[in-house]
């Protein structure tokens, strides 16, 4: 049985767009918001990860792996150098999303 029922998607999407301050917009606008918001969020999260890594070789390796699309290396570097990397990244994503939401909502006023 498919563990992901349609309602799950709905709830999750609602959660996602709420986090971005776009919950009450029509779907197409939500997507517009998401597409634009993701860039700065990725940038902010990536910089947070990078700054968490030791300066020097590790950072350079991370950059190189990132540029190459070597996800395993990226993941390993994060796991090796960031305590509880999952939690850290989750929080960074949430933080960046919240920041975007604040900016977006202020622009919409």
């Amino acid at each position: 049985m498919n563990p992901t029922s349609p309602i799950d998607e709905k709830v999750l999407k609602q959660e996602i767009f709420t986090a971005l301050g776009a919950a009450n917009l029509p779907q197409e606008m939500q997507e517009e918001v998401l597409a634009v918001a993701t860039g700065p969020i990725i940038q902010a999260v990536t910089l947070a990860i990078l700054m968490k890594l030791p300066v020097g070789d590790v950072q350079e390796k991370f950059k190189a792996a990132f540029d190459k699309g070597d996800s395993e290396t990226v993941q390993r570097i994060m796991a090796d150098n960031i305590p509880d990397a999952d939690k850290f990244i989750t929080e960074e994503i949430q933080k960046a999303s919240a920041e975007f939401r604040t900016l977006f909502e202020s622009e919409m006023k």
Binding site: Q43, M78, T90, I93, F100
Partner: protein, 735 residues
């Protein structure tokens, strides 16, 4: 063999066109859509949606115009008389009021002494803004001076739209006649330019509107409108459509009634003036009222002009006809305004956030972190959405109940029968190269195991897959893949989502282990490539990599052959080298008699819509010469799960069925005015991926008929916007 339930999207029956529909309403709708187009034109930033909307509006306008033509064709056969009558009627009160003019002159200290011509009357009565400025070398002799503004001087720019405005009343001179001729000539030149643009396909709705106005001007200067109703009714279609004349006559009557009302008022005012009751205000408003009446009458006439425009080519007609099968929704003005506001706000917020992030980066990291954003920014819209959904889901899942977290792996990565949220959104595995695909699947397996143990998927893993991996894993075929995805999404939205009703059909399909839900509009919206791929494609080994039309670095595609059904003979048009043996790019020889379809079949009715992942057997073969197409009204099959696109079958008219692997691009429809040959299809490369001669064991693109990436990359982006219709430039079929 397992049985899988599909939902076949059944085309909603269109209501029969109401030929008595109010032409005025249609005209109003056309104007409204034109305003929307103008609004989009004015936007500095146009995203893909805007381009799509532009196309949609244009096609909607074309459809409405076609409706007008359908309603009103045949008008040309008798339009001239009422117009002449109208002019006479308009002229009459002015002639009557010569005496009154003298009185007006006395009242206003004007020097007017009017002997009005038809042209002058029209010029006086027409309030339009000038549509084109044309500089003449000679002065237009003034005829009438109602507002006492300065007269034009020699070499002055004269507005064509008001050739007789602000001029004194004198007899028409030879110089003026020359000026009129010059104006006509300039107008004709402009029209010719527009015709060229039209021929080049670069004409805009604004251009068309201006052309119509200019034609009016020419007619005005000629004192007649005969020219623009010149299309003779020759064809049987026209003869048939002349039946619609009664409708046109009603319109004409309405127009004349309105004119008469204005004229009567004018005369009444004139009488009042004679009796000393005409105030200066009334005097000023008299003309305005007449103008309004004439304008109202002309609105009806404008509609009839549609009937006199050159008939579209038969292929265009067909495209329009097909297009009418798709229901469009128009965004309201308010919604547009909100959209614009959201766009601006989100852009500003993003920019502010980006600036802040970059400001916090150390100098040695600054360039790199900027590059991260630029890399993202180069991705196409739906991919951004896909990645954004994945990342945001990571953040959101922390605040969701645990049950959701356990499902997140399947949800994100496609292990579920419905297909993964992200993978589906990104167009499936076709987007990834072999190595990346393996990695994703490995991650996916791990996530599945974790989810089975009730553990939440690691955010780090998700990040590492979504961001760097997908940033770099996309190959050069991405542009194509994206378009395919968008096309699939467009189908999902426009056909499945809005115009279809569903009916469950049970289809035997080997290798599919799960019941597949119908194509959800939601799925299309999620990632713009949402097709309910029943399962992920089988894992590919390196040796499985086949030549692929996407290009050298394209993702490998393993044919997902279902099974064979009786093979029809190769069609007569198929060259011997194709029917006997051909050597495909991979060096595999195909045996002679294998021009077959091998689809499991279910009955379908012509015009039935089916979607990728659904398999149908085409209805009765189309007779030779019948318009068959790919898109609305014909048959499509999505054969390879995860690969957006479809395989279409084309009845060849001789009992055979040709099959093409069609990647439906957004809104692009290929229509053939006859049974297409492979060469024809190849010539219409956009939207058609491969012409496939299939066997039960292999499936290869035909030599020389492989879709060329350059075709896609060379084409303007807007070509792929929803609603774009591209004609297949093919010669008529030789019977």
């Amino acid at each position: 063999m397992e049985r899988v339930t599909f939902k076949i999207q059944q085309k909603k029956e269109r209501p029969k066109q109401d030929t008595t529909q109010d032409v005025g309403q249609i005209t109003t709708e056309i104007e409204r859509l034109n305003r929307k187009l103008d609004a989009i034109d004015r936007q500095t930033y146009k995203n893909e949606r805007d381009l799509a909307r532009q196309v949609e509006y244009k096609e909607e306008i074309a459809g409405l115009r076609k409706q007008l033509r359908t309603n009103n064709r045949g008008y040309a056969t008798f339009t001239e008389v009422p117009i002449a009558t109208t002019l006479e009627a308009v002229e009459k009160p002015l002639q009557i009021t010569d005496a009154r003019r003298t009185e007006i002159e006395a009242d206003t200290e004007s020097t007017t002494n009017v002997s009005l011509t038809k042209e002058e009357i029209n010029a006086l009565l027409r309030p339009e803004e000038p549509i084109e400025k044309i500089t003449t070398n000679e002065t237009i002799t003034p005829h009438l001076n109602l507002d006492q503004t300065p007269q034009p001087k020699e070499n002055e720019t004269v507005k064509v739209g008001k050739p007789f405005e602000n001029v004194k009343a004198e007899a028409i001179t030879e110089v003026e006649t020359k000026n009129i001729e010059q104006t006509l000539q300039d107008a004709r030149s402009y029209l010719q330019k527009m015709e060229e643009r039209k021929a080049n396909g670069t004409i805009t709705p604004q251009d068309e509107a201006r052309v119509r106005q200019l034609r009016d001007q020419i007619s005005l200067l000629r004192g007649t409108r005969v020219e623009k109703i010149a299309e003779p009714a020759e064809s049987p279609i026209d003869i048939g459509e002349n039946i619609q004349q009664s409708t046109v006559a009603e319109l004409e009557k309405e127009r004349l009634d309105k004119l008469s009302a204005g004229i009567e008022k004018f005369e009444a005012d004139g009488l009042a003036h004679k009796q000393g009751e005409l105030s200066p205000e009334t005097k000023e408003t008299m003309v305005e009222k007449i103008r309004a009446a004439v304008k109202a009458g002309e609105a009806a006439q404008t509609n009839t002009e549609q009937a006199t425009q050159p008939k579209p080519q038969s292929m265009e007609e067909e495209v329009l006809r097909r297009r009418e099968d798709i229901e469009y929704t128009s965004r309201s003005e308010e919604k547009n305004a909100l959209m614009e506001k959201v766009r601006m706000a989100v852009a500003k917020a993003g920019e502010t956030m980006r600036t802040k992030t970059e400001a916090s980066a150390s100098p040695e990291n600054l360039a790199w972190i900027k590059g991260v954003y630029e890399k993202y920014n180069k991705l196409k819209w739906y991919k951004k959405v896909g990645i954004g959904l994945g990342l945001s889901a990571v953040g959101a899942s922390a605040s969701l109940a645990g049950g959701y977290a356990t499902a997140l792996g399947a949800f994100l990565y496609g292990t579920a029968a419905t297909g993964g949220f992200i993978m589906r959104g990104l167009g499936g595995y076709a987007l990834l190269d072999a190595a990346a695909g393996k990695k994703v699947r490995a991650m996916e397996d791990e996530h599945k195991r974790m989810a089975a143990r009730g553990k939440m998927i690691g955010a780090a893993a998700i990040y590492s897959i979504l961001v760097p991996q997908l940033f770099s894993a996309v190959d050069e075929g991405l542009g194509i893949t994206e378009k395919l995805g968008r096309g699939a999404a467009w189908i999902g939205e426009h056909i499945f989502g809005k115009t279809a009703e569903t009916a469950a059909v049970t289809v035997p399909m080997p290798g599919v282990a799960h019941a597949v839900p119908p194509a959800a509009p939601e799925a299309a919206a999620i990632g713009k490539a949402a097709l309910h791929a029943p399962t992920a494609p089988p894992p590919l080994e390196d040796e499985d990599v086949l030549a692929h039309p996407f290009g050298h670095n394209a993702p490998p595609v393993k044919p997902h052959i279902v099974h064979a059904i009786p093979k029809p003979k190769a069609p007569a048009w198929m060259p011997k080298y194709m029917t006997d043996t051909y050597k495909n790019p991979a060096g595999i020889h195909q045996p002679q008699d294998q021009f077959t379809t091998h689809m499991p079949s279910i009955p379908s009715t012509p015009g039935q819509y089916v979607g990728p992942g659904q398999i149908v057997h085409p209805g009765p073969p189309a007779p030779p010469g019948q318009l068959v197409g790919l898109g609305g009204g014909t048959y499509m099959q999505g054969e390879q799960p995860g690969i957006p696109g479809a395989t279409g079958t084309i009845p060849l008219g001789n009992g055979n069925i040709a099959r093409v692997n069609v990647n439906i691009l957004p809104g692009i429809h290929k229509f053939f005015s006859h049974v297409p040959t492979p060469e024809h299809i190849a010539s219409a490369t956009t939207g058609i991926d491969t012409w496939t001669s299939t066997t039960s064991t292999n499936e290869q693109p035909m030599p020389g008929l492989v879709n060329r990436p350059s075709v896609f990359s060379a084409a303007p982006e807007s070509s792929y916007a929803p609603g774009v219709v591209q004609k297949a430039d093919v010669p008529p079929l030789q019977s």
